[in-house]
């Protein structure tokens, strides 16, 4: 049980990292980015390319892939999402990001084929013993990476001038503009950040799972579930819900049966939403908690 608990926390933090971008984008822009799953896979393929063709280590490669994904996010926001306005913006964002997702999936299938690949490095299949149980290094590294990146995001939001701009834009866009905040610019950068974190999440995911472009479908359903439970727009919610989801699934799998593991999370989701429709950490007026 201890093994499942620790596994759940380590793996859940990586899901939380992937979901963070999704919830940040919704919190600031009211955009439900259903392409987040394919961006995770795109991030994984970028790491794969750097590793296989240039021999660059998976973690060192993040210094290249995170900026690339940031730029990809900026470009997509400028070309497609910045045009969405009006009361139907959120609903239309689902359609547009789904279309973006399918186009990227098609391109990845063309470039990399549908054959599954997996990221590899000397430490990926290695583990260390603790209390008689082996823990894989890659999950530990993924956990540390998630903590560092989520901590950095928190620092940016609450300790920097730009973070204050984000929170002000979120609270009231018109008032934020009146005090001189460039709300459009803030939205664009937020989308870039939301996509940039998928590079890290994708790398860890790709090192622990064989994947192809279609893997994004499984991912997006889990990521959406996490941010709904945590509260749409809440970074803290994404973190707690991500860890809760995987830990609960692992515990149910070990103590009862894996067949009920996924179901158990959805039961918790229904119960939580019955009492708190806005999710664990969601707020009506200000969504970034």
């Amino acid at each position: 049980m201890v093994h499942a608990l620790i596994d759940g926390v380590l793996t859940g933090s990586v899901y939380a990292l992937m979901a963070t971008g999704l919830t940040l984008i919704f919190g600031v822009m009211d955009i439900i980015n259903v392409a987040q799953g394919i961006f995770v896979i795109l991030g994984a393929y970028l790491s794969y390319t750097l590793q296989v063709h240039f021999g660059i280590d998976l973690f060192a490669g993040l210094l290249i892939t995170i900026p690339i994904m940031f730029v990809v996010g900026i470009v997509i926001e400028r070309i497609f999402l910045s045009r969405l306005k009006g009361p139907e913006k959120t609903a239309m964002s689902i359609l547009v990001t789904y279309a973006i997702s399918l186009v990227i999936e098609g391109l990845l299938n063309e470039i990399f084929t549908v054959n599954n690949v997996q990221l590899n490095a000397s430490y990926v299949n290695k583990s260390f013993p603790l209390f008689g149980i082996y823990f894989p290094y890659i999950y530990l590294f993924g956990f540390v990476l998630a903590v560092v990146l989520l901590g950095s995001l928190y620092y940016m939001l609450y300790r920097t001038r730009f973070g204050a701009s984000i929170r002000a834009s979120l609270a009231d866009q018109a008032a934020a503009a009146l005090v001189g905040i460039d709300v459009k610019k803030v939205s664009t950068i937020c989308f870039g950040i939301g996509i940039a974190v998928t590079a890290a999440g994708g790398m860890i995911f790709g090192a622990t799972n064989a994947f192809n472009a279609s893997t994004s479908y499984d991912l997006i359903s889990r990521l959406l579930t996490i941010i709904v439970l945590g509260g749409m727009g809440s970074l803290a919610g994404a973190l707690v819900a991500g860890i809760l989801m995987v830990t609960l699934e692992d515990l149910v799998g070990v103590l009862w049966s894996p067949i009920w593991s996924t179901m158990s999370f959805f039961i918790v989701l229904v119960i939580v939403l019955s009492f708190r429709p806005q999710g664990l950490f969601g707020k009506q007026s200000a969504r970034v908690a």
């Binding site: 093994h3 499942a4 596994d7 759940g8 793996t11 070309i79 497609f80 045009r83 239309m92 359609l95 547009v96 279309a99 973006i100 399918l102 186009v103 999936e105 098609g106 299938n109 084929t113 549908v114 054959n115 599954n116 690949v117 997996q118 590899n120 990926v124 299949n125 290695k126 583990s127 082996y134 894989p136 999950y139 622990t208 799972n209 064989a210 994947f211 192809n212 472009a213 279609s214 893997t215 479908y217 499984d218 991912l219 889990r222 995987v246 699934e249 692992d250 799998g253 070990v254 049966s257 894996p258 067949i259 593991s261 996924t262 179901m263």
Partner: protein, 406 residues
């Protein structure tokens, strides 16, 4: 909204595809064959391999003059691995696109609803990947699975492993399977055949939609069984178990998975050739088969797509066999009447295909084929038939499996 329109147009372009174009049959109208395939979603790797197999067959048949002189045109729609979309696709193919014939989708999960849908229009559903018992238990008159029913897949393995001398026979076995209609019957049949001859130390079922197999694989590793029977539908599942086993410093002496290792290079490139060494998988076909029809198809495949015989995905042969079976039925009935084709395929005739003989019983099972077990050997560089032991093409099983990466 112009951007959204542009994106949607791109989507349509990416998710639909036309079939192989006929060579030169100007005098007769083309025969349209409707197919729904998983070109995206969970089964996309298999779906795209099936697409290659169907297109390879269409190319060959057109080069040989088409079906009764009519050029063959494939009308392929993507179902995104969805049992709902597959029904919509076949309804559209028949009632809107007016296809003459239908070929099957990928997986038992999709074949059953697809077959029920086309039955309402009186169409025959010749398919190669709907071998799970649920397809045949429905007793549909129009389904014809050209591949051996999966329930029997592990029979040669069960016979071999239980007949090993006591000293080398695994002492314990763990069954772990997805609750997919393709995998669970295979594993359950193996379990009943092996019975108490090997001590069962675990049986775990996990949901087909699982994406994190690590904790499940850890449970298996902690039981330290000598043999593991994994009910898997794809490469990622097998890969995840292999990785978790290695991380847990556990190597089973015998490791067989129901699907995944049969995908040739797609498997070894994901898990690494050295790790693939010793992994076993049941199937009814492999790239180095001595069947002359198979050798011809494999040579054409390699000419078109490259690679080696060992790296050819078994899905290619299944799809190709579907085409061969339908072509034989069309030729024998002298037309494209689905009623006559259904009647002919139920007549007990044996049709030669790249997978071997095809002969259907009353519920559409092909019982003319033999189940084989294959194993990756020589550092994961060769994929060989290892049983039935009595078969002249079988080589000795590599036992026990080497440690991971060795």
């Amino acid at each position: 909204m112009g951007a959204a329109t542009l994106a949607a147009t791109s989507v349509l372009a990416l998710t639909s595809s036309s079939g192989a174009s006929p060579k030169a049959h100007a005098s007769l109208s083309p025969i349209k064959i409707g197919i729904s395939l998983s070109l995206s979603g969970d089964f996309s790797a298999d779906g795209l391999a099936y697409e290659q197999g169907y297109k390879l067959w269409a190319k060959d048949v057109n080069a040989a003059g088409g079906l009764l002189g009519h050029p063959v045109q494939l009308d392929i729609k993507s179902d995104a691995s969805s049992p709902v979309q597959v029904v919509t696709n076949y309804k559209t193919l028949i009632s809107v696109d007016h296809v003459n014939l239908t070929f099957g989708p990928f997986s038992t999960l999709l074949t059953l609803p697809a077959t029920e849908a086309v039955q309402r229009y009186g169409y025959a559903m010749v398919e190669g990947a709907g071998g799970g018992p649920s397809v045949f238990q429905a007793k549909l008159p129009n389904v014809f699975d050209v591949t051996l029913p999966v329930a029997y897949d592990l029979a040669p393995f069960a016979k071999w492993v239980t007949s090993l001398p006591t000293a080398s026979r695994p002492k314990s076995i763990y069954y772990v399977t997805s609750d997919d209609p393709f995998t669970q019957p295979v594993v359950d049949t193996a379990k009943s055949l092996i019975g108490s001859k090997i001590k069962q130390v675990g049986y775990t079922t996990f949901p087909a939609e699982a994406t994190d197999w690590h904790s499940i694989a850890d449970q298996v590793a902690q039981a330290k069984p000598d043999a593991v029977v994994l009910g898997s539908v794809d490469v990622p599942t097998v890969s995840a178990f292999m990785q978790a086993f290695e991380q847990a410093h556990y190597t089973p002496k015998v490791f067989i998975a129901t699907a995944g290792p049969d995908q040739g290079k797609a498997f070894t490139s994901a898990v690494g050739a050295k790790n693939a060494d010793g992994i076993m998988v049941p199937n009814s076909w492999y790239g180095q088969s001595s069947n002359p029809l198979s050798q011809k198809m494999v040579a054409e495949y390699i000419k078109q797509y490259g690679g080696t015989a060992a790296g050819v995905n078994a899905d290619i042969a299944e799809a190709y066999s579907v085409g061969e079976t339908m072509a034989a039925a069309v030729k024998a009935t002298g037309g494209f009447s689905n009623a006559k084709i259904i009647s002919y395929l139920h007549s007990g005739v044996t049709i030669p295909t790249v997978q071997g003989g095809v002969k259907f019983n009353s519920v559409g099972e092909n019982l003319a084929q033999t189940a084989y077990t294959f194993q990756w050997q020589k550092g994961g560089t060769t994929f060989v038939q290892v049983n039935p032991v009595s078969d002249k093409n079988s080589v000795a099983v590599e036992l026990p499996k080497n440690a991971w990466g060795k």
